[in-house]
Amino acid sequence: MIPEIGQLALILALLLAIVQGTLPLLGAQRGIRAWMALSRPLAAGQFLFVAIAFLCLAWSFLTSDFSVLNVVNNSNSRLPAHYRIAASWGSHEGSILLWVLMLSLWMQAVSVFSRSLPREVLARVLSVMGLVSVGFLLFLLLTSNPFERLSPPAAEGNDLNPLLQDPGMVAHPPMLYMGYVGFSVAFAFAIAALLGGRLDATWARWSRPWTTAAWCFLTLGILIGSWWAYNELGWGGWWFWDPVENASFMPWLVGTALVHSLAVTEKRGAFRRWTVLLAICAFSLSLLGTFLVRSGVLTSVHAFATDPERGLFILVFLAIVIGGALLLFALRAPQVSGGGRFESISRESFLLANNVLLIVAAGSVLLGTLYPLVLDALSGGQTKISVGPPYFEAVFVPLMSPMVFLMGIGPVARWKQATLPELWTLLRWAFATSLVAAVLVPLVTGGGSWGLRLGLFLAFWILAATVVNIRERIRNFRGAVHERLAMQPRAWWGMILAHLGVAVFIAGVTVVGTYETERDVRMAVGDTVEMGGHVFRFDGTTEATGPNYRAARGTVTVLRDGREVLTLHPEKRTYNASGMAMTEAAISTGVLGDLYVSLGEPIDAQSWSVRVYHKPLVTWIWSGCVLMALGGLLALTDRRYRLRSTRQQRAAAVISPA
């Protein structure tokens, strides 16, 4: 019964979405108020029905209803409850439903928080989102029904892929999808602006907070995914340039460019056409990512059940949404005026350069991701290659290094016109300090390649340039230093925090890349191995039983200066339902570095192959991402967004006394 209710709710949501995607849009074009007014109640109704559908699916998983095919394939009665809920988005069907849920959630948020928008704009924005929703609901109902019944019901389920049985899996997809789908808001605003022919600073101000919010979620989503891979895959890597990772990274790069470009459009009225194009591209890449993951055109560690028919559906959908948007852009963009003028040395020009570098970086990731496919297609299926980390690293570092360098200059440069001598005077000490630090640090820590020096230089550079930026910013205010600091708007502090996050991230990546050590040793009980000033002693394994797996649980004692400081328990698990073996690494996390131990294979009754890693500053990678996301959140709480809404509420109250 419950699955049928879910199915019915999906059909109702589709019907509402069809109305939402058409009537308000037509109403806005023809000035019919009643049709425009439909958009908000329709969005609410759609959210309600999609939420009901999702709850029905989650309920089927929670109660282990093995008459539902999706539950049979992805769950098991012995699976712990929180993973049973997470399993509802562990499958292809469930994850598309999650996508739609997130989309309707964003729609509902727009409808609630953007009440003050002009009627036509709100109607167009919600209508465009409604059209996207139609596509995905049709996709669900026609090719990927999550509620398909199995008759007769199965006695037991096949279990959730053990790789996905990790706390990271509970949080990663919802966060990532919030980010992916969140760019649909910026996209809808861009389309609405193109349709309405009003592409100005107001438009940028409206879509800016939504873009920042989506960007924050995407940052956190990618971060959790990376952290999950680090914990779960058992070889201590944190980024693999896997097609699916790239699929989430490309919208992030373009989204980052969009966040900055929107700032210029709002403050200076410049970059209008460019910003619109970025908004279209960010969401297009989200859709493309979905296509790449769901259609099976690329192989990946994230292999879901793939199906060419589904691939074709998404491809047609892509063609309509992206093709339509780009065509509209080509038609309307020539009518948009260029906006504020600026000199070749100015904050605008630095931001433009950063934007271009970010886009080229995204383009090269796209190229690397699709190259195997393109080659395969050109050679008629004869040439299969895979593009790996060497390509991405070779391309990415040279593109990102100047980007990061400009990141230090941009925020202190003046709008409209700046001069190089002026910038040099401001930044020369920051430049010298970071250069010296980049040379000195490797002398102390030992070793060091040019890569290490470059990474350190960039990290110190952002830090030093940020200090200069803060000093310059508060110079013209009065009062004690802390008062002057407190006077600055949160949006500005958000920028500072996010930029510092990049410095922390670069420091982490550089140091762990240079100084991580790894030993792969055969250890019998009592054997020791030394690494990073620690001695690891293998104390053997014991049998352990989990809710749905059996495990060999190792005990590794870590000694420092002969004293026991830590006990780690890496596990080798065998999941009952699938028989899959999983390595559960034991990680001791510290600010200065992680100790990471994972069990390989048993060699004989007494000994195991054991992998031990010392990863200095590895947590800085994720801390940096957290800082970036926090910076975004801080910017979202800026006074002007709150002020505007209260002011408008007051204004609204005056106009329409109830």
Partner: protein
């Protein structure tokens, strides 16, 4: 306007590649082993561990090597096809029982039927490494000279069996 059409043009090209890509199968990775002699090994037979098997003994016959395990879910999918195939064709199928417990493996065959001429136990997966196995099941077609001619990654499907494996076996049998 033409320069504003550029993004649209780029997108169309991309769309074209994606459309072609949809019809290609990225899982059909050509194995570096194709055209190479089958790796030599000697392993105990599953049902009679005292007896050993080595590919040398299959010289002069076209045969299949199927990598399977009782813990493998996809093997359950392809198993009925293999049983059917074994009934209807005079082609030897050697099972490489990969990282499995012999007791479990024998019970599995007793329950689901045994399509194999014989199975050998690769307890630690050493031979699997020589064959470049990276997922169970996998199936190799080996010709009379002991050269690997085809590799199926993942479960054998009706399409793969009718469209590729059977025609290839017929061709090799005549050669």
């Amino acid at each position: 306007m033409s320069r504003f059409l550029l993004p649209f043009g780029v997108f169309l090209v991309l769309l074209g590649f994606l459309f072609v890509g949809l019809k290609l199968n990225p899982r059909e990775v050509p194995s570096p082993l194709i055209g190479k002699p089958v790796p030599e090994f000697t392993l105990p037979q599953l049902h009679e561990p005292a007896k050993a098997f080595s590919p040398q003994s299959m010289r002069g016959r076209v045969w299949l090597l199927n990598v399977w395990a009782s813990w493998c879910v996809s093997c359950r999918d392809e198993h009925p096809l293999l049983v059917d195939f074994a009934k209807n064709h005079q082609v030897a199928i050697v099972g490489l029982n990969y990282k499995d417990k012999p007791d479990d493996a024998q019970a599995w065959l007793a329950q689901l039927g045994d399509p194999y001429t014989l199975s050998v136990s690769d307890l630690e997966g050493r031979v699997g490494i020589d064959f470049g196995v990276y997922g169970v099941p996998e199936t190799f077609v080996i010709d009379k000279q002991g050269v690997i001619r085809y590799k199926q990654i993942g479960a054998v499907t009706v399409d793969a069996l009718q469209g590729k494996i059977l025609p290839l076996i017929r061709e090799l049998d005549q050669g």
